[in-house]
Amino acid sequence: MTLFIEQCLNGLQFGLLLFLLAAGLTLVFGIMDLVNLAHGSLYMIGAYFAATFAAWTDSFVLGAVLALLATLVVGMAVEMIAMRRLYGRDHLDHVLGTFGLILFFDEAVRLIWGPEGLSLPLPSWLNTAVTILPGMQYSAYRLSIIVVSLAVAVFLYVLVMRTRIGMLIRAGASNREMVGALGVNIKLLYTLVFGLGAALAGLAGLMQAPILTVQIGMGENILIVAFVITVIGGIGSVRGAFIAALLVGFVDTLGRSYLPDLLRLVLSPNAASTAAPALASMLIYLLMAIVLVVRPEGLFPASAK
């Protein structure tokens, strides 16, 4: 039972982390109608910045804050140099152009930080376990990821739904020209939105960094998962991304831990132990295929907003 609760918490933590990544993707898609494959690169850059700054300043938190700001700046620069020119183009152009950016970022990171990965050690006050239920301990760091991600989710909700900037963002999503005609600097607004998405991706990257190693290509696997989430949730819908992220987080985590046992009921132990990892990796794609077949626009179609 405690194991099950722990796996559920892991699923929640993974799902929330994925939400940070997917939120940026879905915002950029919903508002600028841009498919951004390079989003995973910003995730990677956030992790690299965090590892570097944490080593310089000798403080995990200070390093994280600096990395977040740096990723924001990189994101806004990318928007101004490249993405801005892609708005209004075919989605295929987006795929190709941002694929080019992935190559650029991967190689730039290799040039700057070298081919070996970095590691981001946890400070001792986070590297402990806390008792969350009587007789049950959980990693303090994973718990803090859950708290931070939930806080960011609330912040996003308030920002988009309850502030003037959020109102302009939503207005810009439905009619760019009209908002521009009313005297809003839509270019700056887009740059800010893209920067926000980049910072969210960077935050996800730097929070994941102590759990996994910081390495080139770390963004490519998880990017596809983030895309799966935005598609399941309905592209452009932040609420959909939140629910889909939790769904994918649970399905993936629980699938990986319980599928081998489930398969053993129907297959020979040998066959089960070889088939289970593959099947567990396929689960989320299966989920997405089912959702798309039943609801081709995702669970929460953004056009309904």
Partner: protein, 332 residues
Amino acid sequence: MSTTPRNILVVALLAALVLLPVYAGLTGDRFMLTLFTRIVILALAAVSLNLILGYGGMMSFGHAAYLGIGGYAVGMLAHEGIYTGFVQWPVALAASALFALVIGALSLRTRGVYFIMITLAFAQMAYYGIAGLARYGGDDGLTIYKRSQFFAPIDLSNKVQFYYLCLALLYGSIYLVWRLVNSRFGMVIQGSRSNDLRMRAIGFPTYRYRLVCFVIAGTLCGLSGALIANHTDFVSPAMMYWTRSGDLIIMVVLGGMGSVVGPVIGAVALLVLEEALPSVITFVLHPFMGEKAAGYGEFWQIVLGPLLLLVVLFARGGIDGLLAKLRAKAVP
């Protein structure tokens, strides 16, 4: 066919590909032959992708899955001791066609970005599925000890013969695509790309047409996969990872979408660029950095990435589109 600069260049390229083994034989440059065999095989995959991407407007982001399926069909049969190409190749084609039929039937219900993403998802499923086959090497891939066997004079281990076989299949598929897109079938496909609603309104069941087109493209790409397996004597799940699908899209768009030979130009351009860029970078940096410049050649992707972005931004229609514009300038 009129003698525009573009047509002359295309014919020159196609002829150069035919004459390449002669050049490689005269200079003894074995590497050149191996490189161009790879280019020709991947060009075949790009031609098949172009059929659905350029003509059908179906932005498949999972096309590399067929490379893997075709390749693994050959690899698995060889692993089980069946070497005859008369079994291996039909199985490779049939498996690819079946996969395309299933994922096409489901994916074609969606449009736009959803289509891009669902084809990607199916390709990833195939990737993880094959990576989980412990009997056939799993993640590490599968070495093929014997190439596909055909009747006596045909020997795929002979590099020149194998090159000409690949080239013949490439030219055959270019002809097939050319005939297809200019047929009634191709007109329906292109009409559906422009305005699906209108096509359906005048009575075409476009879903069925698009599905057939999707299956043809998948089958052709499966053939390319069977060739790759024979070329490298090795198959691994890496050949169907999503970045490989990205590479195929690059070839199509770089060469020129919706042009029959565009993907061939794109495949040649991209893969030659990959080989040449390290030397170019070293050469350009040499005056500034001296001997240290050689070390920077390996970072060629830092140049390729922005180059792709520039192609997207400023060269619509790809290289073939640029060549076609030459004529506009030459003949006012």
